[in-house]
Every structure is written in structure tokens, then in C-alpha cells.
Symmetry: C2
Amino acid sequence: MSHKKAYVALTDVFTRLYRYQHLAAMAGWDQHTMMPGRGSEARTAAMAELGVLMHRTQTDPALQGWLAEAEQEDLSDMERASLREMRRQWQHANLLPEKLVEAKTLAGMRCEHAWREQRQANDWTGFLANFREVVRLSREEGALLAAHTGGSPYDALMNKYEPGMPSAEIEGIFSDVKTWLPGLIAQVRERQAGESVLQPQGPFSTAAQRALGLEVMRRIGFEFDAGRLDISVHPFCGGVAEDVRITTRYSEDDFTQSLMGIIHETGHARYEQNLPRDWVHLPVGQARSMGIHESQSLSFEMQLGRHPGFLHNIAPLVRQHLSADPAASDPAFDPANLARFYSRVEPGFIRVDADELCYPAHVILRFEIERALMNSEIEAEDIPALWDEKMQAYLGIDTRGNYKNGCLQDMHWSDGSFGYFPSYTLGAMYAAQYFASMRQIYPTLDEEISIGDFRHVFAWLNEHIWSQASRWETGELVRRATGESLNPGYFRAHLEARYLA
Amino acid sequence: MSHKKAYVALTDVFTRLYRYQHLAAMAGWDQHTMMPGRGSEARTAAMAELGVLMHRTQTDPALQGWLAEAEQEDLSDMERASLREMRRQWQHANLLPEKLVEAKTLAGMRCEHAWREQRQANDWTGFLANFREVVRLSREEGALLAAHTGGSPYDALMNKYEPGMPSAEIEGIFSDVKTWLPGLIAQVRERQAGESVLQPQGPFSTAAQRALGLEVMRRIGFEFDAGRLDISVHPFCGGVAEDVRITTRYSEDDFTQSLMGIIHETGHARYEQNLPRDWVHLPVGQARSMGIHESQSLSFEMQLGRHPGFLHNIAPLVRQHLSADPAASDPAFDPANLARFYSRVEPGFIRVDADELCYPAHVILRFEIERALMNSEIEAEDIPALWDEKMQAYLGIDTRGNYKNGCLQDMHWSDGSFGYFPSYTLGAMYAAQYFASMRQIYPTLDEEISIGDFRHVFAWLNEHIWSQASRWETGELVRRATGESLNPGYFRAHLEARYLA
């Protein structure tokens, strides 16, 4: 052991951090699913105390020496990757003064808290008053991080969610998407204009929707002895790898969003549930990035969940749980109708309600605005005009004066998570690339999906993504999995195949 | 501020501990109500890490100096009481070496884990193999604590749950109880021999039982915006004062245990929910002792819940939720039958199923055995014979060879909680004394209870117990509340009034 004393000392610290993270994750999950209203103040205090403890642990002066010493030790390849990921976490924690972290957390909480009512009231001016401080502190954070990582402040912020991906690369990818996406949307809408799509009519009881959700989760491999499904206002995947907690929300009028939401979160969950158990207590054994995490949820939701064959396969289950008279033939529950329903393209105001084709337009718009904002090319007050202009250009939608369903709709900016948005579309692109790769190896993949046999899908994801955790940098992970680095051509090909076939 | 610098420094440390305790309480609650099986190992590791952190915080060498300095500072009466309670907690944590705490926790976990199957298998010999180590370490703990507190090792252990109560005082009280209780039980059983009592016939759905439980909790003042009701195998009251989590378990054959269990836990919960909010982050603002805690659950369960007037009042509610045909007059749901049912006296093997009259006999037997065991007057292998002898003497029950329903039935000994058992009967005695005191002030109390008006009960408990938290030592608390120190005569009078009237 003594030939890697520093590495072992580091694993002790990061194992301790993982245990603290466990407590934080469970307290956070509880806060959003179980906690009664008056528990909030004590919970916030307890979680903040834990946050301070974790930050202290990550900034313990002993770590710097151990990180340097460990570089000289006789480590295996995996241990070397482990050391790299420890350094990344340590670096991030140590670049930011505790005062800035605290100030940003507070400003974000204040802005987000007020945003809930300001959004309802369409009150952009009121929002701006708090938001300016969030912008100021986020720029400061970006500048401090960029001084170390190089690149623009926005690059440095994006690096938190997708390490190693420069914003210039995203810009290139998104520029290309903008050349063909609006046309594709128009073309698909014209094709779909004559289609008849029936919206299944409720009410659908929460209990029946939950039973259906659980059954679908079972079919797509969620492990119930290592996780749960509960309810929260904003659906999420939380908990820890050994005990993954996903949530949904039910509307008795409409089961379709909850059902697809559950499939989406199950994708996140299976990634977590299949991380390498021997390494999961260390950074190298944890999820690679938010882009890769979204590539799992979108592999499940977009590639699998909205696959016409998948929908044909689960349609009887949906009818059985939710149709008022399962024996009768309500045409809204027909497999073909469900498949048409879930591939309907229709530009709208709201990102989270967007279909597969319009979603990237919402993301590109946000990317362009937040990048300019963090790089001080625009100011916060410039956002609405830019929003209006881009929504018109990309989706043909008029948002003037409609802040509520425009630039006030997301939580990400109010809490200062600049740089997160690209993860969604990167995830969708990675997912398309994975499935193209799978189809090369398994030519009958689509037939298998149509009969509910997902073994090849899951075996591929497990071998190439889940079991690899953070062993490789993102680019290398994707190259090893698919034979090439991120190639957005697969995403375009997937959309054209699905929507123009 | 500077004239009480040390006191302020102490409040910072104890506030931090309270926040850690919040995380521990929630992780523990989740473990017993929500956690899927495979989450166990990671949870145990996270909670143990938190335990180490809390112990380190309590044994920080700076505390000793601050405790001494704070004695010289200009403190208010409440602050002085606060300092006393801080010292008590600090003392307890610092008297025990970390090694012993760890060894005892591990031995207790091992013994308890094996006990679950050994109990089912009636395997006393197998149990003994692990239990000897728990006994050895508990005696060591008792000796170390006694070296500081004086008294016997058992006194020192009991002091954890009921500070300031010497076991000689309990012995005196219990000796007296033994002179009249067996006779009283016999007398009551003779009176009840001719009574007809109907057991309501199920099935009673879990949903209906839960709805009834929630309604009863509401009537007896549980605050749902600061707490929850959930399910666990072993019912408990957990969480924190700002967010109290109680649990029950439902049997579809029999609602009566769950209903009374919920009333019991609501008593614990209301104590917590009404602790003084400005002080609850410090030891002085927390529950006085386990004896006083049980006095709250038993005020609710025994004094209120089994009060014939209370049962008459809630009987229509019970019928409405649980009778197959609420309009029909199933005589099992008659108020008078419910009252007879809940006051039925019948000696049995199991403590937790015991009626109000037999319960003290179960406790006295355990007190006598655990006291002799901790003071090294007997050894672990002597337990079964003593158990048989005392069950025969106090309850007329033959337990020979029946370890499963005899000395293997409780969890307390397997996990090393020697000294806890007396809290139950002390609690029952305190509760009887409180209600005697209330009846002095409010002569129409029983009529009020019969019409569902509990305002005087709760006002009295709030004024004298809940709001007082740990401001006074237990003896002083009881004297201030009732005008005299613990007087078991009230308990006997209560039993005679209820069961011989």
C-alpha cells in the first residue's frame, strides 16, 4: 500500500464526501417529495450546514499535496483516471472563494423564490431587479474559472456540465442545425397536416397512471430493490446510485406527459443503477457529465420511448390500465394513434412541452442568449428583445410582451445555472449516435424493439456508457462507444428517418 | 456579546450539532419507511460517517474550556439551564472512548440482526453467543459512566434515558406496585369475566384505516404542515421538532392496534411540535427525557385514548370509516363495546400487546432482570429462568421453553439499550399524575373529553410540559407541573377508578 499512500489518502477523503453526498441527496429528495411546508426552514439550515462541510472537505489544504504526490505513485490505469477526476472536482471547488459560492447561492435562491410569483404575474421588470445580481455573480464565477481553464467565461461555466466541450464547438454544431431544422419542421408539419390524431380522454386516476408507470419502468429495467417512484412538482432523478429516486407528476386529464416523463427519468436512473459498484464512491465511478446523463434519459425517451415500435408494443398495456373500458376499442388507444400522438410536431412557447423536433430550437435560442450574456456581450435587459427575435426566426412564434411563456419560463437562469442548456441537445445528439451504432451491430434492432425485446439496447448502453462511468473524458467515451466523436449528422438522420419516412 | 463569548461559541457548536441531527433523523426515518432493500449498505455507511462527525463535534477539545468559561459569564436563567444541558450532553459524549462506542454499536447491530431470525427460531443459545458481547460492552459503558456520575453501572445507564432518577427510587416504586398490581389484575378479570366484548370483524382496508388515523390525528391536534404519517414495521416517532414523522403498521384483520398506536405516536409528536421554537436548536429546548416523552405518548394513549368518553366520542368516526355498512348497527362498533374492548384486561406473553393493567408487570420484570445483569449480579444465561419465574409470579403465565414469546421478544436488549424499560412505566405514572392535576383545575374535564373538547388537556400539557422542554430537571418539571414530585399513588388511583368503577 505504501507505494500509493497519497492516492489512498485521497480515496478516504472522496469516500467521505460520497457519504456526505448521500445525506445531501436524500435530504434534497425528501424536500421535494415528502417534506411538509413548515419543515422548510430547518431543512434549508441543515442542508446549508452540510454544504459548508462538503466545501471544507474539498478545500482541505492537505489535498493539494496528495494530488501532486499521487501523480508520482505507481497507479493502475483506472486509478490514474480516478486521480484525474479527483483533481477535476478539487480544482472546481478550490477555484471559487467560499464567499462567492455563498453569495451566488443566496442570490440564486432569492431570485428563484421571487421568480415563482413574478412568472405568474408576467413581471419581467421585477425579475430583472434580482436577476442582475445573479448575472453579476455568475460572470464573476465564469471569470475565475476561465482564468484557470482558459476560454471564455461561458466556456468555463459550461465546463461544469460538459467538461472538455468548448462553446465554439457547440456553436458550430448549432449553426449547422439552424440551417436545416426550421425547414424540416415546416416540411413535417405539412405532412402531418392531414393526419388525424386523437388525444385520449380522461379522467385517468393517479393510481392507474402510477400502476402503468411502474409496469413500464419494470419493462425497461428499473430495479425496484434499488430505487423508487414518487411525486414532485418538478420531476427529477435524485438519490444515489445504490438507491435511485425518480419522480413524476400526474394530471388526471392527460397521462401522456407523465408516462413519457417516467420513461425519461428511468433513463437517468438506469445509468445511475448500473454505474460500476466498486468505483461509485469515487468521482471516476460517477456519471461522466450532464450531457452524457441527458443522453441516457433521451435514449430512453426519444430513441426508445417515442419509437413507433415501442409504442405499438406498450399500447395494450396503456389501454389495459387507462381505458375506461379496456375491452372496447377506443381509437385513441390504438397503437398507431399513440405513435402519431407522440410524434406530433407543433411549435409552442414552452420548452419542456416541446416535441422532439422543436426542442433543439428552444435550446439553441437559450444557448445563444446565455453565452452572450455571460461573455458580457449583452446585458440582462436585452434578453426579451433577443428572445422575441429568435422565437420568431426559429419557430415562427410571437412572444412579444409574453414574458411568462417566454424568457421567464425556465428555472435555470434564475438560479444561475448558465451553461446547462446545451446538455439537453448534446444528449439528444449522443443518443442518436448511439442508436446508429447499435443498428450497425444489431441490424434487427427495430424489430426487437417492436416486440419489447430491449436486451441489445441495454447491453450496448451498459457496455459502452453505464459501466464506463467517468473512466474516459467525454470525447474519448463517445469515440470508444461509437467509433467516432460527436457527429450531429446522426441526429439529423434520425429525425428525418422518423419524421419523413 | 463579549461578556458571554464562551456561551455564544457553545451555541454555535450545538446549533451545528442540531443540523447534523436533522440529517441523521431524516436518513433514519427514510431507512425505515422509504428505502428499498439494496440501499441499505450505502445508507449505513453514510449514517456511520455522520455519527463519527457528530461524536468528533461533541468531543472537540475547545468545548471543555468554553463550558468552564461560560459558567463565569453573565447568563440569564434560561441560558444557565441551557449551559447545564450542554454540559450533560458533552459529558456523556466525552466519558466514552470512541472505540467503545464503535464496538458497542457494531456488537448491537450484529446481535440485533441475528436476533430477527433467532427469535423466529426460538433459538436462545444462538442468541446468547452474540448477546454476551453486548452485555460485556454495556457493562463497560455503565462502569465508565458510573465512575463519573456515581451510583451503580445500571444507574449510570438509566441516566441516559431518565437523568437524575436513581434506580433505588424506581425499585421502591416498583416494589410497591408489585404489592397491589397482581391482586388488582385478578379483581378486574373477575369483574370482566361476565362482560361480552365483540372484536370488530374485518377486512379493514389500509386506505380506510389510514383515513381514520389521519382524522383522529387532526382531532387531537397533530399539525400536518409540520409532520407526516407513514408506514413502518416497527412504529416510531422520528424526524425533528419542525417536521415530525410518525409511523404505524396496518393489519387488515384488526384496526384496533394501529388506531391506538397512532394516538400514542401523536402524543410523542405533539411534544416535539410544541417544543419552544426559539430554543429547539439547543439541548435546553429539546425533550426532557425518555420518561417524560413516554408520559406524553401515554397521556394520549392511556389517559385520553382509552378514556371511555373519548372512545364514545370517536366511535361514530370509526364506524363511518371502517364498518362495511356504516348505516347498519354492527354492535362491534357500538361506543360501549369499543370502550370495553380497549379496557379489556388479559395477561399475555407480549409486552407491546399488553393492556394498560398488565403493562407495568412486563416492565417491572425487565427492570429487575436488566438491573441485576448490568450490576453483574447475574449473567446472561440466567435470564430465561428468571423470566419464567417472574412471569409466573406477576402475570400467572408459563413461559418455560418459549423464548420467542419470552425473553427474546424485545429489541432493547439485543441492541444494548439497557435502562430504557422503566421509561414506559414512569411515563404512565407521570401521565396519571398530570391528569389528576388537570382534574383539580378543570373539574369538568371528563365531560369535556366525552364531547371531544380537549382544549384544557392540551393547554395544560403545553403550559407545563411541552413549552418547558429541558428547562428544568425532571423532578423539578414534575413538581412545577403538579405541585409534587412523582407520586405513583395517582397511577394506582387512576387504574382503580377506570377498571373498578
